[in-house]
């Protein structure tokens, strides 16, 4: 709300500069966002929390300033407006009046008042009134409308003036709209209503969306002679629903949905009527008041020891009582420790003891509450096992030269389709604000490819990226599943500075990252199997298993998908299911004595058929050698040159070791020969 410093001073003595006032209000919970000079005035932009609708008016803010500074409120004198038929001040339809009021929805409109003022002169507002409205960001319309707006800001009670002669049958009916009923509101827009919405209608059609906006046809115009001034209370939830359904929030609906002070209705109506008589002449007619006064708020008991226990400082009973008195509460001590409090009618937010404690703390000043350190309360682990593992995965991958990315969990349906990730189990968002957030990602590949594209388009082509995040699925309509996954993507060249030659990244660089990660996390018995997956090229796609448990998939991303993502480079990617991986992780490390005796290393170079896999050869070597073989790994793989077509040259490095003695060449020789024989006989390989 825009708060004019000069206007506010009408209601309270202020001896503070606008800046100091701003600070005072901010520290009391009325956050001042900015202060602007405007001529000889300053306008404070204040943010009012939804629990304090009583602050949504100048008198409300002045009341708070009064509580903070000890100054007295100066409420404008409300002369009871002389009514043509003052006997009708309460209750029912006035017999002499042509205007009639009927409330069909007493729940949604427990109180409705209408004041008739005849023979008004609609015209321009005086300068002071225009200035007031300008200060709060409103433009002047005419004196009648301006007065209703002025009173809304002064009192917090929204008012509306109808052109009485345009009300069909001179009647006001507060009812629900019928479905499809239409009204053109004063902003000139035709609104289509439904039967959840409350309207003010005449004997034919709606003349206002109750509490939200008046109708164009019955608005006060230069031709208007007689007016009906509405001041009412509408149900907050109903107004909120209507305002949201129509996507129409007004100064009026904003206040009604936060609850206006029912005890203020008549006073606000009187104030407006008085101003109308002053500025637009006219004669006050009948005042019709339908519905009931609200019941008084309930009393609240405050325990002073509880107050001190919650805020952590001993506020003296007299200080607490004076704070509460300054806020307009009636304070009645019940015992040494307990005081009974009666909140003023405009403080609907005060319902429980804690609300009172907050008020004391607020005015006492948060800055006056000391700082203490809470006791250490968690003796156990500070990180859950999941969090420890996440931290490990991130740390290891970063050490391996990968950079972490975070991509959106919500994607367009099209992106998910392009990434070949769509399916029946994909979760849709019911209320996306753009088609970029239609569905939840069922896999991380789309985000990975999106980030790769973004970088390649900006000439960063050598990328090693990973993302650790949730993927989402549904099972049926009411069961949703989140699965944490790890995605890795690599593309471009690997460099060795100015010493070596750059080379293109391969599937085996990706596989190496995964192997290093797994090894570091104590994951053993890892194997890969050829696999078919729509994301990957069928020629190089593998399922990664740990002890026959499929934990992930990796491969070369299908060129067709890359084309759909506008990526021209080769990309290798993997996705690993972290929940499955969890079962195989063992971060416990145990010391093992290093071997006391040196090992013997021997190489074997063979030529073998191209279709024989490395895994077959290694397992044959291991089987044949038995325990004495510590390790066998491929160290070279080559074709061309002297290698015949369809064959491949392979070199394996074999490490033999005996834990109990130094091996001699002669110890190894027999086994080594046996291995060569096995390779020749079982796999048709030839020694080179």
């Amino acid at each position: 709300m825009k708060l004019s410093y000069n206007w506010l001073k009408e209601y309270i003595d202020i001896r503070l500069s606008p800046e100091k006032l701003g600070e005072l209000l901010t520290m009391a919970g009325l956050c001042v966002d900015s202060i602007h000079k405007k001529g000889n005035d300053s306008v404070l932009e204040i943010e009012i929390t939804s629990n304090r609708p009583d602050w949504l008016s100048y008198i409300g803010v002045a009341r708070e300033v009064g509580a903070l500074t000890g100054k007295r409120l100066k409420i404008p004198n409300n002369v009871a407006v002389s009514c043509g038929s003052s006997q009708s001040r309460r209750g029912g339809v006035n017999g002499n009046s042509k205007a009639t009021i009927r409330i069909e929805e007493k729940k949604l409109c427990p109180r409705y008042t209408a004041r008739i003022i005849r023979n008004v002169k609609v015209g321009e507002s005086p300068k002071w009134l225009k200035e007031r409205l300008e200060a709060v960001g409103l433009r002047s319309v005419n004196n009648i409308v301006d007065i209703t707006n002025f009173c809304l800001f002064e009192t917090g009670e929204p008012l509306h003036a109808f052109d009485l002669d345009k009300l069909g049958g001179r009647s006001i009916i507060v009812r629900r709209a019928s479905k499809g009923e239409k009204i053109k509101t004063i902003d000139g827009i035709e609104r289509i209503l439904d039967n959840d919405m409350l309207v003010i209608a005449d004997d034919k059609s709606p003349v206002a969306v109750a509490g939200v906006m008046g109708g164009l046809y019955t608005e006060v115009s230069p031709q208007t002679k007689n007016i009906l001034l509405e001041a009412a209370y509408f149900d907050p939830i109903s107004i909120r629903r209507t305002s949201r359904r129509l996507a129409l929030s007004t100064d009026s609906s904003y206040r009604f949905e936060r609850r206006v002070d029912m005890g203020n209705i008549v006073r606000a109506s009187d104030r407006a009527a008085q101003l109308i008589l002053e500025l637009a002449e006219g004669a006050a007619g009948e005042f019709i008041d339908m519905g009931k006064e609200e019941k008084v708020l309930k009393d609240i008991d405050l325990r002073l020891d509880r107050l001190n226990k919650i805020i952590g400082v001993a506020v003296s009973p007299s200080r607490a009582k004076s704070i509460l008195t300054s806020l307009g509460l009636k304070v009645k001590p019940l015992s040494k420790n307990i005081v009974r409090l009666s909140p003023p009618g405009f403080r609907h937010d005060l319902q429980n003891e804690i609300d009172i404690i907050e008020e004391v703390a607020r005015i006492y000043g948060y800055e006056n509450i000391p700082e203490t350190i809470p006791p250490v309360l968690e003796p156990g682990n500070r990180l859950s096992p999941d969090a420890v593992i996440d931290k490990n995965i991130r740390g290891i991958l970063v050490n391996l030269g990968l950079s972490e990315i975070i991509t959106y969990s919500l994607l367009s349906r099209k992106t998910v389709e392009l990434a070949r990730s769509s399916g029946d189990n994909v979760i849709s968002i019911k209320n996306p604000i753009s088609n970029e957030q239609e569905v939840m990602r069922p896999a991380l590949v789309a985000g990975m490819l999106g980030s790769i594209r973004w970088n390649i388009n900006r000439r960063s082509k050598d990328l090693k990226l990973f993302e650790l995040g949730q993927t989402y699925f549904k099972e049926g309509d009411n069961s949703f599943i989140e699965k944490k996954c790890l995605a890795i993507g690599v593309t471009g060249q690997l460099y060795d500075g100015w010493i070596g030659h750059p080379r293109g990244v391969t599937l085996f660089d990706l596989k190496g990252i995964i192997e290093a990660l797994f090894a570091q996390m104590g994951i053993k018995h890892v194997s890969v199997k050829e696999a078919i997956n729509p994301v990957f090229s069928p020629a190089s796609c593998a399922c990664i298993s740990v002890k026959d448990d499929a934990v992930g998939i990796m491969g070369q991303v299908d060129p067709k998908i890359l084309r759909d993502f506008d990526i021209k480079e080769t990309v290798y990617a993997a996705q690993i299911d972290c929940a499955r991986l969890m079962r195989h992780i063992s971060l416990e490390k145990k010391f093992r004595e290093s071997p006391k005796f040196p090992s013997v290393i021997r190489d074997i170079s063979i030529v073998a058929d191209k279709n024989i896999s490395n895994a077959d050869i290694v397992s044959l070597i291991k089987e044949t050698a038995g325990n004495i073989l510590k390790d066998a790994e491929i160290v070279d793989r080559y074709s061309g040159g002297q290698i015949p077509e369809g064959k491949i040259g392979l070199t394996y490095r074999l490490e033999y070791q005996d834990p109990n003695r130094t091996l001699q060449d002669s110890d190894v020789q027999a086994i080594h020969s046996r291995i060569i024989n096995a390779l020749e006989n079982n796999l048709g390989a030839k020694l080179r």
């Binding site: 009391a28 919970g29 805020i311 700082e371 809470p374 859950s384 969990s409 989402y472 009411n478 949703f480």
Partner: protein, 343 residues
């Protein structure tokens, strides 16, 4: 013979010490240790020494040779810049071969840092689901249906009941339902709100939530813990301001500001010179906090007469933006490697 040895030693050391270039040094080497050098000559003359003295004289000559060699060795690098003067010189100005180091995403880094501060205060890290239901996201936290307090929590829905959590606070309720006080937990995670994306809004962002519950937790404890946090995060000289605010799940509630990290609040005094970060206010809001509302305790089955607690929540992106001076929230999710490599 002994005198001669002493004489040679003296003159050799002197010549070597005074040598001004590699040439002079080389000459000295030849003069003393060369094939016809003075020390070499001494060895040749050993035959003339009496057998009784031979062992001792031999030792002395050896010692002399050692002394001269050492003196030469020590002087050589000083003059020639290397003992291996014949080898190809290395161009030491060539750059080192750098192994690329990966980076944590600045959001992960910030989360780790924030959690680290609270872990050191005795908090435990807890996580919860991103897909939530109305109950945990709203009702359990005293945010009634169709209430203006929901305005702050625009929410993505999956169906009538299920939604994407619009804050990390639902994990509070979930944790309390299955755990007994005392505890101190910190909850990092993604949250979602249907906001149009621009430089300062994102429909997905990260929050960190803290919750401490025990039999005697006070507002002063909240102030103490958060002040420690802010000083660790933004520097020892950071000033803090707790101002009253409203959140449905805490009461009393506070919004917490730190002194502007750009102008330290000085610009506020020097208006109209306005700071680009705080707009001349001198303060920047970093988090919301408060004492757990007794209604929330009752909703999870705690007795609010027996326990009290505080809770706080902050946006990770906001903290990272302030800490690193990042200008656009979208950068976090573009994953531009030139951006990522800066952290």
């Amino acid at each position: 013979m002994r005198d001669k040895i002493r004489e040679i030693e003296k003159s050799a050391v002197e010549e070597i010490t005074l040598a001004v270039d590699a040439d002079a040094l080389e000459k000295a080497r030849v003069k003393y240790l060369g094939r016809k050098g003075l020390v070499t000559e001494l060895f040749k003359n050993m035959s003339g020494v009496s057998p009784a003295d031979r062992a001792e004289i031999g030792k002395l000559i050896n010692a002399l040779k050692e002394t001269v060699s050492k003196a030469l060795d020590e002087k050589t690098p000083v003059l020639s810049g290397g003992s291996d003067s014949g080898a190809q010189k290395t161009d030491i100005t060539l750059p080192g071969i750098i192994r690329e180091i990966g980076r944590l995403h600045p959001i992960s880094k910030t989360i780790e840092e924030i959690c680290g501060v609270f872990i050191s205060l005795g908090f435990k890290v807890v996580e919860g689901p991103e897909i939530e239901n109305e109950h945990y996201n709203f009702e359990a936290l005293n945010i009634p249906l169709e209430h203006p307090s929901r305005d702050a929590f625009d929410t993505f829905y999956l169906n009538d009941k299920w939604l994407l959590r619009s804050h990390t606070s639902p994990v509070q309720a979930r944790f309390m339902e299955t755990n007994k006080p005392p505890f101190a937990i910190i909850i990092p995670g993604k949250v979602y709100r249907p906001d149009a994306t621009d430089a300062s809004h994102s429909f997905m962002f990260h929050q960190i939530e803290g919750l401490v519950v025990s039999d005697n937790i006070r507002f002063s404890d909240l102030k103490g813990a958060l002040t420690l946090f802010a000083r660790q995060m933004f520097g020892e000289n950071t000033r803090m301001r707790f101002r009253p605010s409203f959140f449905p799940f805490t009461e009393p509630s506070a919004e917490v500001d730190i002194s502007c990290i750009l102008c330290s609040g000085d610009a506020a005094q020097r208006a109209p010179h306005k700071c680009s970060l705080c707009g001349g206010k001198g303060w920047i809001e970093i988090l919301g906090a408060g004492m757990v509302n007794p209604k929330v305790f009752r909703n999870v089955g705690y007795n609010p007469e027996k326990v009290t607690g505080f809770a706080f929540g902050m946006g990770v992106e906001r903290i990272a933006i302030l800490k690193y001076g990042i200008t656009d929230i979208r950068m976090f999710f573009e994953n531009d490697i030139r951006f990522l490599r800066q952290f």
